[in-house]
């Protein structure tokens, strides 16, 4: 919203549930069927016949497919619908990437009603069980033995049976089992422009993500990886985007690196999740675009065909901590927020969980209770500031 406001771009926000203001602002708000991309595209065409549309942006995994359908229907910049669908479904993505020779873990698809003991007998170890469509590593569980596999399988089965997931249909009845790839993990933020991947940022994830659950912690940029290794990661992500058929818009890739080189863990046709984008700023004062261009501004500029600045990230180090869920329970209060904000280099701290909210740890959960942002001269200094700020917080949970 802010980015569009800064750019002077008029927005129409489309969601699956009507806004209470829709009648008062029918140009700025519309309801579309996000569960049916083709129908959503028809609704958008009808809207655009009265109010011309210059671009469309999806904000998450599901709406990336809808956005592709709408863009195709309107003849504006976007991904092929099939590519967006492939990016959204973990199994289809693995299949296409493997066929194209992109290094991905070995994988197999199972149904939730398969006998987990039989599946466990033929699974590679260590392995990771994943749902096909959930986000933020919800439901992702590592298993090192057959016994752990059965426990993980049954736990994931229960997650998939939840009412909020079961409504996905058949994907909620499938489980992806893939080989665990050891190594440090990285997140790549990029923008596809006419099929070419422009790397916007490479984040280190300094904490080992070895499981059994894969809640994120800290993202730091610039990466401290050697330059040639960074190029290898970027090349791997670019190959993955091509293999999926993606051509335009933001991509967020998770990759691992070990003795065998880079591995593509997952690539999403959307930007880094919500608040974390505040860790990224682009531009420089001499560019004519200013030194404070947000990721969202870049995405909107690209979507509507406005000129793009020189896509250079700000010179300082930046990082974000996704505050971990301390434990299950009802949040009553968060103490120490002001002390945490006063830690040098900390720029912002947002507690997004609200008093009375149920905090649900991973793998059943997927919402972080808050985020801490810091900037400084070095990634090491930013990392230290984030941890220091986190150390000052106390979550009162019942």
């Amino acid at each position: 919203m802010e980015a569009a406001c800064r750019l002077g771009v008029e927005l129409t926000v489309a969601s699956e549930r009507p806004s209470t203001f829709q009648d008062a602002n029918p140009i700025g708000l519309m309801t579309i069927d996000l569960a049916d991309p083709e129908r959503a595209a028809a609704q958008a065409r009808a809207f655009a016949s009265r109010h011309p549309v210059a671009g469309v942006v999806g904000v998450d995994d599901e709406t990336a497919v809808v956005a592709a359908a709408i863009a195709a229907g309107l003849g504006v910049r976007g991904n092929p619908v099939a590519a967006a669908r492939a990016a959204r479904d973990k199994h289809e993505q693995r299949t296409r990437l493997a066929a194209a020779g992109v290094p991905v873990p070995r994988f197999a698809l199972q149904r939730v009603d398969d006998d987990p003991r039989l599946v466990a007998a033929r699974a590679p170890y260590p392995c990771v069980l994943k749902p096909l469509r959930l986000a933020a590593s919800r439901g992702v569980i590592r298993a090192d033995t057959a016994v752990e596999f059965v426990t993980a399988f049954e736990r994931l089965r229960r997650i998939l049976a939840g009412s909020d997931v079961a409504s996905c249909g058949d994907p909620a009845r499938l489980i992806l089992v893939e080989e665990f790839v050891p190594g440090r993990e990285y997140a790549l933020e990029g923008l596809l422009v006419d099929g070419e991947l422009r790397v916007l940022a490479l984040f280190d994830k300094p904490d080992p993500l070895d499981g059994p659950y894969f809640e994120e912690t800290i993202y730091l940029t610039p990466s401290r990886l050697a330059a040639d290794a960074q190029r290898a990661l970027a090349d791997c992500a670019a190959r993955a985007a091509r293999a999926l058929g993606l051509r335009e818009g933001p991509v967020h890739a998770e990759l691992r690196v070990n003795a065998h080189g880079p591995w593509l863990i997952e690539l999403a046709a959307r930007p880094i999740g919500g608040r974390c984008s505040a860790a990224l700023r682009f531009g420089n004062r001499g560019s004519g675009f200013g030194a404070d261009v947000s990721l969202e501004e870049l995405i909107i500029r690209h979507a509507v065909g406005m000129p793009l600045p020189a896509l250079q990230r700000e010179p300082c180090a930046s990082g974000v901590m996704m505050i971990p869920v301390p434990r299950a329970g009802v949040l009553r209060e968060v103490r120490g927020v002001e002390e945490a904000r006063r830690v040098p280099l900390v720029e912002d701290l947002a507690i997004t969980a609200y008093p009375g909210q149920d905090l649900v740890p991973w793998p059943e959960g997927s919402r972080y209770p808050g985020f801490i942002f810091a900037r400084g001269e070095t990634p090491e200094a930013v990392d230290a500031a984030l941890r220091a700020a986190h150390g000052r917080l106390e979550f009162v949970i019942e």
Binding site: M1, T20, G28, A135, R367
Partner: protein, 204 residues
């Protein structure tokens, strides 16, 4: 009505600003804004609030049953609020109107912000709040300064994942249509304190 029957609820907005909701009407003539003790002269409520020791009051805004107090001191609102409550009860119990009407030719022309405040308040009461009430929300008009509207969201709007959409595509759009003199709208809500957001916030 006895003084004991008067109920006053303090709603601190930030360290400088607090809104007081009174169970009795204080001023029915729109908005009165007092920026000094001199301007408050003749309005017992405003006089008493400006006289609160240690508060260093900068401004008093009265409209309907609402009093907004702006202070410069760091004295905590629980302390200052008690004195404001006493001032309200004393003014309502007195034999003069708590807030004097602004007579023609008296202390200068009505400010443009006061006029905008009234128009925005009317819009919020007649259209904006009935709409957000469908989602259990409420939008409070806090002030208008230099034609910029300050709002605070409550209920289902506070902490709602779609609060920005409500602000820009809803409230701001309606202001542009119905009160085009408004130059902008600022949300001063503490969304982290919301306890029943209509839509949860982003996952990541």
């Amino acid at each position: 009505m006895s003084v004991a029957d008067i109920r006053i609820t303090a709603e601190p907005i930030d360290n400088e600003r607090c809104k007081f909701v009174v169970s009795e009407p204080l001023y029915a003539g729109g908005v009165r804004r007092f920026a000094s003790r001199e301007e408050a002269s003749g309005s017992p409520l405003a006089e008493a609030i400006f006289a609160i020791p240690g508060a260093d009051v900068a401004e008093v805004i009265v409209s309907g049953n609402l009093v907004t107090v702006v202070k410069r001191s760091t004295a905590p609102w629980p302390t200052v609020g008690k004195a404001v409550g006493q001032a309200v009860r004393a003014a309502l119990a007195g034999d003069r109107p708590a807030v004097a009407s602004q007579t023609p030719g008296s202390a200068g022309p009505r400010s443009d912000d006061d006029a905008l405040y009234e128009r925005v308040a009317d819009l919020f009461e007649s259209q904006v709040n009935p709409m957000v009430a469908r989602h259990g929300g409420r939008v409070e008009l806090i002030d208008v300064q230099d034609a910029v509207v300050m709002v605070r969201m409550a209920g289902g709007c506070q902490g709602c994942g779609m609060a920005d959409v409500t602000l820009r595509q809803g409230i701001e759009a309606m202001l542009q249509q119905h009160v085009p003199d408004v130059k902008g709208v600022v949300d001063i809500t503490d969304h982290t304190a919301g306890s029943n957001p209509y839509f949860s916030g982003a996952k990541k």
